[in-house]
């Protein structure tokens, strides 16, 4: 593609409408690029070329008839391999589901299909979404398009790398403790975790039920608004999904930030934060102030308890959610001398080390005699963290902070699990409270690696976050930069 070719979903939609581009040709171009470049990037686990071509053809017919289903009609997108796709294997990055083919579509997949999106394939991830580097995938490494020696972040590293690397126009991941915002920051794209319950989890293979969020990756905020708009909204199949109207996210973008009150939490700028990131984030906040927002310091004293609390709640729920993988009904089965032996061997062979570590942590935390001290206590802390945010949101509309304490690290650099866990220190609070939070590109360090600005908003107030992020994006050049790789 030439430099002037459309790359964002909204540019593609405009080109399709004018007849300047065709969904079939665009899909072919993406498939060709995946074919040529993904061997180096490792973003995709499964490329669904035939299905994508078929979807592109029907999309093209709709565009020719002047009746596209939505602005996403014909848009080539990628899905983290955690979303169930009917008839297309869904591995969750695990040996235990290596050959698992779901009999149904996740609700968000069904909504994307109904909007005319072209699904290019399924992307790599940390096994069962447990990790921050995509290195815990049972199948392959994914590389950061800005530096192939570095991780794309995780657990949705494949989806982030695919968008950053030009191998999908947009994508979806899941964010449980930062698994979309962190890779978005590492790969220089937008990642938006909406409010818990805003998007149905039906068909998302569960890691931690009370923390799992469906979240889009995009090249800019306009695309982010389009992607979220299609999948958001109540789903009767998910009892935790919120029955609230979904605003027109794109329409809200133009409103600007004049009068918006932005809080800067002290605790997000403490020890462990990379100096270049701090400079970039503070500069971004200055840009917002320059656009008419007011800025004030705030305090979220419970921030330091986030990681510890998260590593009780998430593994506890995971230990329960992953109990079903026993070799009886689907997935891997390793024969044994009796039932217990078969289940043990299956799980021993099917799960990787990080998954086993978390299943053991979670099993321990839920055990009789430990429940109150761990899971019960963690839920109480979670309530305190929520109150912290509620108190702050009485004074400000949006919080601004770094997405990550550091930039993308080299493969193998965080072999110590605790070092890996600490990478999520700034993203975990919004996960535990279910508040909407977005990561927006806000610059590069001296090594040319992207930096993310995180904005956190009130419950169900995705529109305000998108508006602030859009104003910032339009005032800065970061979202137009593409890695050499692409």
């Amino acid at each position: 593609m030439a430099a002037a070719d459309p790359v964002t979903i909204h540019e593609l939609a405009a080109a399709f409408a004018k007849g300047a581009a065709s969904p079939v040709a665009v899909t072919e171009a993406y498939l060709a690029r995946i074919e040529a470049r993904d061997a180096r990037l490792g973003a995709y686990l499964t490329v669904t070329g035939d299905e994508a071509r078929a979807a592109a053809r029907t999309s093209e017919a709709r565009h020719r008839a002047g009746r596209p289903l939505s602005p996403l009609d014909g848009a080539p997108i990628a899905l983290k391999d955690v979303f169930c796709t009917r008839g297309v294997r869904t591995t969750c990055g695990s040996r235990i589901l290596e050959r698992y083919v779901p009999p149904y579509d996740a609700t968000m997949v069904a909504r994307l299909r109904a909007a005319g999106a072209v699904i290019l394939g399924k992307t790599n991830m940390d096994e069962f979404a447990m990790g921050s580097s995509t290195e815990h995938s049972a199948f392959q490494l994914t590389r950061n398009p800005w530096d192939l020696a570095r991780v794309p972040g995780g657990s949705s590293g494949g989806s982030a790398a695919a968008v950053a690397g030009g191998l999908a126009a947009g994508s979806f991941g899941t964010d449980t403790g930062g698994s979309v915002r962190q890779p978005a920051a590492f790969c220089g794209v937008v990642g938006f975790k909406p409010t818990y319950g805003r998007v149905s989890r039906y068909g998302l293979i569960a890691f931690a039920s009370s923390l799992d969020h469906v979240a889009p990756f995009a090249l800019d905020i306009h695309d982010t608004a389009l992607l979220l708009g299609v999948v958001a909204g109540h789903d009767p199949l998910d009892a935790t999904s919120v029955d609230a109207p979904v605003p027109d996210y794109v329409a809200a973008l133009a409103e600007g930030v004049r009068g918006l009150r932005i809080g800067v939490p002290d605790e997000y700028f403490g020890e462990g934060l990379d100096a270049e990131i701090e400079r970039a984030v503070r500069a971004a906040i200055d840009v917002l102030r320059g656009l008419g927002a007011s800025v004030e310091r705030v305090s979220l004293p419970t921030t330091s308890y986030g990681v510890a609390t998260y590593y009780i709640v998430a593994p506890a729920e995971a230990s329960s959610n992953l109990a079903r993988y026993d070799g009886v009904k689907y997935g891997l089965r390793v024969p044994g001398k009796d039932l217990i032996d078969m289940v043990s061997r299956t799980r021993a062979a099917g799960f990787g080390a990080e998954v086993k570590r978390r299943v053991m942590l979670g099993t321990y935390a839920l055990s009789t005699g430990y429940y109150d001290a761990y899971y019960g206590q963690a839920q109480k802390v979670r309530t305190l963290v929520r109150r912290d945010f509620e108190r702050v949101f009485e004074r400000v509309d949006v919080l601004a902070a770094p997405t990550t304490p550091g930039v993308a690290f080299r493969h193998g650099d965080k072999a110590d699990p605790l070092a890996m866990y600490m990478n999520d220190v700034y993203t975990i609070p919004a996960s535990m409270t279910g508040l909407p939070a977005i990561s927006v590109p806000c610059g590069f360090n001296t090594g040319g690696l992207p930096i993310g600005l995180q904005l956190i908003g009130r419950t169900l107030d995705e529109a305000t976050l998108l508006r602030a992020a859009h104003a910032y994006e339009q005032a800065t050049p970061w979202h137009t930069r593409r890695p050499e790789f692409a």
């Binding site: 979303f83 169930c84 869904t90 969750c92 589901l97 698992y100 779901p102 009999p103 149904y104 996740a106 989890r201 039906y202 068909g203 998302l204 293979i205 569960a206 931690a208 039920s209 009370s210 009767p236 199949l237 998910d238 009892a239 935790t240 506890a316 729920e317 230990s319 329960s320 109990a323 079903r324 026993d326 009886v328 009904k329 689907y330 039932l339 217990i340 289940v343 099993t363 839920l366 055990s367 009789t368 429940y371 899971y375």
Partner: protein, 484 residues
């Protein structure tokens, strides 16, 4: 039987399958006996990515039951996950309720012969059923096992009694009364053979006068009233013998082997689980508004006990009749429909108890409702007797024909010429013939043996083919004999 020095303490946990069309957390049907795994979907198979959606009807049926037993329906309750690995459970956890059940603290009145007693009900909660394992041969030696998940996810209501029961008879009476209420409420079909109602018992012994409970043993697999009683009788004997011999009772789960009439240990160690309960994160807490609970309460039907009482006061029936007639709502409805058609409550009760129930099971709502002898026809039959058209003896034959043909009794009587001979002249001829043919009976009567008249009446009835009006025959025989 147990040594009289020990008091028996029993509590029952009853699992009732709720009469919903679909499963607890998905839309699959709950029909019994469908081909294996034909009533399953990704949700009840525990496929990756699925989520539960609570069946509102199950909640309503559970609330209805709770209110019928006087339990307090909690304004908010929660579901919890109960974990253990077993292949009949697709997710390897069961979605149940633990610390916050749907309802708590009620009672059920029973009468096991010693007068009415209130048995406390501690709690009522909802949970999902598991699937069924089919082993190749015996469990211990099976080389393969198959799983049928049709039952997985079927809504169950678990009700836990307080340890208020004092004998196997009381336990059986509790289960009977409990079942009658569930059937009357329409919340459970009560079919124990198909597993719609299952029972576990906790039983312990303690010396009379002791206030502390003894070590309890849980007995599983009690799937009939008989089994409940027999298993408890055996277990009480076993525990009493152990206590007498100075052996401690081990707290354990035992399985009742109905074929051999014994309970067997399920090897407590192997089954000692840490269920790792925690609140089900995929379901929000269940809020039951007081107004909704009030609505459910207002819609409660009359319960068997109240109806039994009303049958005694309103229709003047003996308590025994009332108990039999209220064993199911269908039978009680049948009775009341018949009485409405012809006002002879006791005679209709007699016909139901001695004749109808010989043909149909009183608790078989379907059979009662579809009997060819409808309430109106039974009432018609009793009316034919009461107005003297047919005798009680003929009526028995008419009833048999009603059963066989489904015809109206008046039609049968007409068609088959069964109307009583009430013509004095015609009956007199039969009486004269009988007297002439029985000089011995006449002599006996004259000698003071008045029963001899009965033999003559019998002969007249026989000669008339049962059609003579018995009262008239009796009167004519008496008259003629006294004049001789």
């Amino acid at each position: 039987m147990s040594e009289p020095k020990y008091e028996t303490v029993i509590g029952l946990e009853v699992h009732a399958q709720l009469s919903t069309r679909s499963k607890m957390f998905c839309g699959c049907p709950t029909t019994f006996g469908a081909p294996p795994n034909s009533q399953t979907c990704p949700v009840c198979l525990g496929s990756p990515g699925v989520l539960p959606v609570l069946n509102r009807r199950a909640v309503e049926l559970a609330a209805r039951t709770a209110l019928a037993f006087g339990l307090h329906v909690n304004p908010a309750c929660r579901f919890a996950r109960k974990h253990y690995f077993y292949p009949d459970m697709p997710k390897n956890f069961q979605t149940s309720q633990y610390e916050e059940p749907l309802a708590e603290d009620g009672w059920l009145e029973i009468d096991a012969g010693g007068g009415p007693r209130r048995i406390g009900i501690q709690r009522l909660h909802l949970e999902e059923d598991v699937g069924k394992l089919i082993h190749e041969g015996e469990l211990a030696t099976a080389q393969a096992s198959l799983v049928d998940y049709n039952r997985a996810g079927v809504p169950l209501m678990e009700t836990v009694s307080r340890p208020d029961l004092r004998s196997p008879e009381e336990a059986a009476a509790y289960l009977r009364a409990f079942r009658a209420v569930l059937v009357a409420l329409g919340v459970c079909d009560g079919n124990m053979e198909e597993g719609s109602l299952r029972c576990d018992a906790n039983v312990s012994l303690r010396p009379y006068g002791a206030t502390e409970l003894g070590t309890k043993v849980e007995i599983k697999n009690l799937n009939s009233f008989r089994n409940v009683q027999h298993a408890l009788e055996y277990e009480i004997r076993r525990q009493a013998e152990a206590l007498e011999a100075g052996r401690p009772i081990v707290q354990e789960t035992r399985l009742f082997d109905a074929d051999h009439g014994v309970t067997r240990s399920m090897r407590s160690k192997e089954y000692a689980h840490d269920y790792r309960y925690f609140p089900e994160p995929d379901l929000v807490p269940l809020q039951l508004a007081p107004a909704w609970v009030g609505h459910v309460r207002a819609a409660l039907p009359e319960l068997p006990q109240a109806r039994r009482q009303r049958f005694v006061t309103r229709y003047g029936l003996p308590p025994y009749d009332a108990e039999i007639l209220t064993q199911s709502a269908a039978l009680a409805d049948y009775y009341e429909a018949a009485v409405r058609a012809h006002d002879n409550p006791k005679a209709i009760s007699n016909w139901i108890m001695t004749d109808l129930l010989r043909e149909v099971g009183g608790d078989d709502a379907e059979a009662v409702a579809t009997s060819p002898v409808t309430p109106a026809r039974l009432a018609g039959l009793v009316k034919l007797i009461d107005d003297g058209t047919i005798s009680g003896r003929i009526a028995k034959d008419v009833f048999a024909r009603m059963l066989a043909t489904g015809d109206d009794p008046a039609v049968i009587v007409q068609r088959e010429g069964l109307t009583q001979v009430a013509d004095t002249g015609a009956v007199e001829v039969f009486v004269d013939q009988a007297i002439a043919a029985s000089p011995k009976a006449v002599a006996d009567f004259k000698a003071g043996k008045t029963v001899a008249a009965k033999a003559l009446v019998g002969q007249v009835m026989k000669a008339s083919g049962g059609k003579a009006n018995p009262a008239m025959v009796d009167r004519l025989v008496q008259e003629k004999l006294s004049r001789m």
